[in-house]
Symmetry: C2
Subunit: 134 residues, 2 copies
Amino acid sequence: MKTNQEILVQNGVSPSIQRLKIFSYLKATKSHPTAYTIFNDLKDEIPSLSKTTVYNVLKLLIAKRLVQEVRIEGNELRYDAEVREHGHFKCDVCGEVSDVFLNQPLNLLLNHSYEVKEIQFNITGVCKSCLTKK
Amino acid sequence: MKTNQEILVQNGVSPSIQRLKIFSYLKATKSHPTAYTIFNDLKDEIPSLSKTTVYNVLKLLIAKRLVQEVRIEGNELRYDAEVREHGHFKCDVCGEVSDVFLNQPLNLLLNHSYEVKEIQFNITGVCKSCLTKK
DNA sequence: GTCCTTGCAAAGCGTTTGCACAGAA
DNA sequence: TTCTGTGCAAACGCTTTGCAAGGAC
């Protein structure tokens, strides 16, 4: 198992404290945080942290394909260190965003008249726990 | 074939000029315009049109499920009057956004532990015509 | 020294809100 | 009158940009 630091280095990202903490934070969570949430959760650990750095690091990690942007509702942008082909489910009631994996790659259902770089899919609805609470 | 005006009325939307023009504009295009593009293209026809009205009408049409929001890149929000289950392909080279339909509904590939309201999927890559131009 | 990274402050841009006016019922 | 719809202007919130300071090499 590679450490997060090793992953960064192997992808040509020099592992500053900020980069490592942000990347590790994303690797450790499944909550698909927004940039603001990342900033907010890390500013205790790194008191000097600025939002600019959060955005800079996210942009860099996206360019290196270590992180994906997730656009599931409105114009809020979320971030995800899970980069395998997958989708997201957002519950309209509780607002939770969770990962969705398919039985077979979506890829196979497409007519390949174009070159595919990235596939994402988004589902909205009501999650199991909110359904049972009704 | 229903007229756009009839569709609005049947969905409980009183058909003002602004609403009808915006809805008709979306029905007639496959270009997945942004709110700004809609505003810009219609302001010659309706000189008094304001962006607020464009946003108001879009919000109303979305609530009535006559229009979908499309989030495919960055934090730009696009709009689409195609409301059947489908996805979008955005070409990284020319920037065009086109509709994608699958051989079978994505629905069937999901474990239904939740209630699905809306499914969208987004693909980025390089389109056929940009591939051949290389 | 140079280059890379960080972070403050300001700007930018798309969207929403407050509010007033106009028109229909 | 009351309710609905429109549209200007201002506010808002997220993201980007400009730029200067700090740190690695």
